[in-house]
Symmetry: C2
Subunit: 349 residues, 2 copies
């Protein structure tokens, strides 16, 4: 365990912790005394029909989902819905490499999967909050990978599902990319197999990772049109890379990001049907709205649309954002209007 | 200087060396006793109207251009044309970090630009080969950056120009990507500021670079359709990454790749007109055929097409290849047929 203020309440806002107890992982290991961080908004109605689960993405926590996606001005409106945002395991706020005691700490933190996240969320929702139906599961990127996992693993619970900028199975292209991100960190001698005194010791590797993320996370149009200036208010390409991208990742924990990358590159609901992805997707009974982002270089629209073919009644709504994958952060005013519009249609169906 | 067999004749085939003497560089430094490697095919006709210059790309040498692009079955047919393939400066075969004596060696090798390449080629062509007109300048990727430099800097000499998978000015997106490649090598402690006993000492950094190249060099469709198997005969994604991509770069010199990356990320003919790219491109008098590759993630077709607007009489021919940027290597049989077709039309114009 090491101290890292970034994952504490004064940065992350109010959240609750649910003790999951020992969680048997897909890998065969058991995560001892696992804790799931979550935050809720609104009230569960009497017939428990208005629960919405919101999942989190790589490097993101419940805070960004709260700030960007939830509110009276959004489809995820706490006056109508009981909204639960659950932080990924290993994401820094839930049980994670930097906050878990020995022996399952730092370089010895168990390897997790998207399936483990959904198992943990399922346990909390059913055993702790008494929820048996989800009006909607929604999340972006790795959050969208969790949405697919929910829809395939627990079709009886998921009435609607909205994976944003995500696919049901990681592409081999993205796998190579995520491995490049991993190697940027693990090649830093100060990473030292996951044993460091402070995440800041691994700054060089984290900085290199930030630059690789920059090359695919934002679209080419973002760079062409110098949107770091118009959208982000940065003064130059270097100012954007150093003052925004590196600064964004710097306070985070390197093992946390590696824990998430391990999951990210292995997400695949096909494993529920002996690697037969169409068969696995065929199990989905939720009404689905699949929302790729049109300039996304991680999860391009055509790959998101390919999943749709195997899901009866699923629709595709391509979100327009020249920010590419990073459009998820809603920095462009029009982004959330499009997402809210699609979610409202889905919620009313 | 260090020994590296990879850049010698038994790997690179027959090439000649032209002594350029001292070459004043754009940076203000002078490259002492600079040497340009080149190889020729066919004969210069009596009115010297059939000379074609072929340039080289990142990590590539004259050998791949000879093997893939030149021959009786290609537009670049030695029975019709006098074809000169010139290796980039700093590319391992021409004067380069690993083959140049002290003091301008290894970590102290001067920083070069695409403008320096073209200056060196111009000097050799005019002073050594007596060529005043080029029927065509053609090259791919960084070779295409040299084609643009030729067409803008020496319009009176260039009758036709064909940049394949290249733009006239590096995009900021690609700049970030190339910096990520650089950092993969320079972060290897064994790189040691450019001072190593063997390029193989820097294997870890080179391997990391190979993986980042893999993520953008090939298209997503290449991965989706597992073309490493059908096109390259590799057995799995790992076999492709290790046995093809890492194996491709392993014999190369790290400082050579860094020297080329320095040029790659700074290519910009706009500097000939006070950074006014349209004005610089307006100087081109050559007949041009701009050839993007349709799934290219380095130089995407829309960015290549954007250059075309400012060049009177230029046409665009998009080459179809699901290999993306790496399509340049002609591994797909249909690739060269498309390139040859477009070059034949251009040469007959």
């Amino acid at each position: 365990m090491i101290a890292n203020d970034f994952y504490e309440a004064h940065t992350q806002g109010d959240f609750k912790i649910h003790d999951l107890g020992d969680l048997a992982l897909e890998s065969g290991e058991t995560l001892r005394n696992a804790k799931l961080a979550y935050r809720t908004f609104g009230e569960l109605n009497t017939d428990k029909s208005n629960a919405i689960l919101v999942t989190t993405w790589f490097s993101g926590t419940g805070k960004v989902m709260e700030d960007v996606y939830v509110g009276a001005d959004h489809a995820l409106d706490p006056s109508k819905y009981f909204i639960i945002i659950a932080d990924q395991l290993g994401s820094g706020v839930s049980t994670s490499p930097q906050n878990n005691p020995a022996p399952q700490t730092m370089g010895k933190f168990p390897k997790l999967t998207i399936g483990d996240d959904v198992a943990a969320q399922h346990k909390m929702l059913t055993e702790h909050l008494g929820i048996e139906k989800l009006a909607l599961v929604v999340g972006g990127s790795m959050g969208g990978q969790q949405v697919y996992e929910w829809a395939v693993a627990h079709p009886e619970m998921v009435e609607r599902a909205a994976p944003i900028a995500a696919t049901a199975r990681i592409s081999l292209h993205q796998k190579v990319f995520v491995q490049a991100l991993e190697e940027a960190i693990t090649s830093d001698p100060n990473w030292n197999g996951g044993w460091y005194a402070s995440g800041l010791d691994v700054r060089d590797g984290m900085d290199r990772m930030s630059k690789i993320v920059s090359a695919l996370g934002w679209s080419r149009e973002f760079y062409q049109e110098e949107r770091w200036s118009t959208i982000l208010g940065m003064s130059s390409l270097d100012d954007f890379i150093n003052g925004f991208m590196k600064a964004y990742f710097e306070p985070m924990d390197p093992n946390v990001l590696l824990s998430e990358m391990h999951k990210w590159q292995r997400a695949d609901v096909g494993r529920h049907a002996d690697d037969d992805l169409p068969k696995a997707l065929g199990r989905i009974t939720a009404k689905m709205c699949i929302m790729p982002i049109d300039h996304d270089l991680f999860f391009p629209p055509n790959e998101c649309e390919a999943d749709c073919r195997y899901i009866s009644g699923a629709t595709v709504k391509v979100i327009q954002s020249k920010d590419g994958h990073m459009g998820l952060n809603g920095l462009e005013p029009d982004y959330m209007a499009q997402v809210d519009g699609a979610l409202n249609v889905l919620l009313q169906s």
